[in-house]
Symmetry: C2
DNA sequence: AAAATAGGTGCAAATTTATACAATTATTAA
DNA sequence: TTAATAATTGTATAAATTTGCACCTATTTT
């Protein structure tokens, strides 16, 4: 019998190739590849692979993989823990609807990317140079919320009160 | 009674703030905000908002929003349609395990970004300059597959046969 | 204005997915 | 090697989610 790892790899590839709309379909595909498991096990595999069922453009549901595990690090609003430890942070200041973050040289792109990844619901987008990031908050998101959230994500920002 | 749009906005915000683990929980939150709907309607709203249920780091399921609708454009392997129309593409050539794409000046970053977004299962990553993109394919993904897929996504690449 | 079409919703049922439990197998520690 | 612990899985079931249908309301067309 094939190993579990082989099965997980196969599942991953099948999802990418077929974007099945439910687990039964995927299960059939798996059988054609010689993997005989139950729906229960598939459900567990899917959870482990962080494969998700997503509404697509056509109004249907499909299973898709999440590339680089985009969501694994997304901040979920719980204060308990942040698995990110930004480095390079220097300061955060606001001007009108915008915010500007200063970083150590070369860190701007990386940190901006992390921000895009973690709090897209607060920040519409970022533009990073070498040591400066322009943050464009979403409409209706106030400075306080952004400041508080970043203080959780970036320990170094805590001293900035 | 509040409008549907107000409701959708509220749902979006509640999901971001509470990352609820099922629709019933979210339904309760909605009630506290004065929206009285059934779970069926919530299910439809969630679909419309492209909110997804995702396994998180702790091994649980939570509902999360998808920022900029990351998945809306992800290529799902079906040939029928591509809703992307890249511009600026010039050429694609391979060298060893790598591929190099040439673009019109200034387009490299944008196209590279689109590639990252659309075919992360084929391409491990890209590095873009101003008019050149280095593509690093995933192990086991062959040139043919990449070429074929890009030809679907980038009409201009079709003439490159 | 009337008719036609589209959008929105609840209800109930069907479908789909997750999981408690028990059993089995693999791994690690003693 | 044996005991202890951790992983893996199927079965059956519970839980969760989606959807067909009917009805109602809003919008558009004639």
């Amino acid at each position: 019998m094939k190993t579990k790892n082989e099965r997980l790899t196969t599942i991953w590839n099948l999802v990418n190739d077929y974007a099945p709309d439910n687990q039964e379909k995927l299960l059939e595909l798996l059988r054609t590849k010689g993997f005989n498991i139950t729906q229960a096990t598939l459900s567990r595999d899917i959870k482990q692979l962080k494969i998700i069922k997503s509404p697509n453009a056509e109004g249907n549901y499909i299973y898709i993989t999440t590339g680089q595990n985009i969501y694994a690090n997304r901040y979920n609003g719980k204060k308990e823990k942040s698995n990110l430890s930004f480095t390079g942070f220097i300061s955060l200041e606001f001007s009108g609807a915008l915010a500007v973050m200063k970083t150590r040289p070369g860190y701007a792109m990386g940190i901006a990317s992390d921000i895009d990844l973690c709090i897209p619901h607060l920040i519409l987008g970022t533009i990073a140079g070498d040591d400066t990031i322009l943050l464009v908050p979403r409409e209706g998101v106030d400075r306080k919320k952004i400041k508080e959230t970043l203080e959780i994500l970036i320990p170094a920002a805590k001293t900035e009160n």
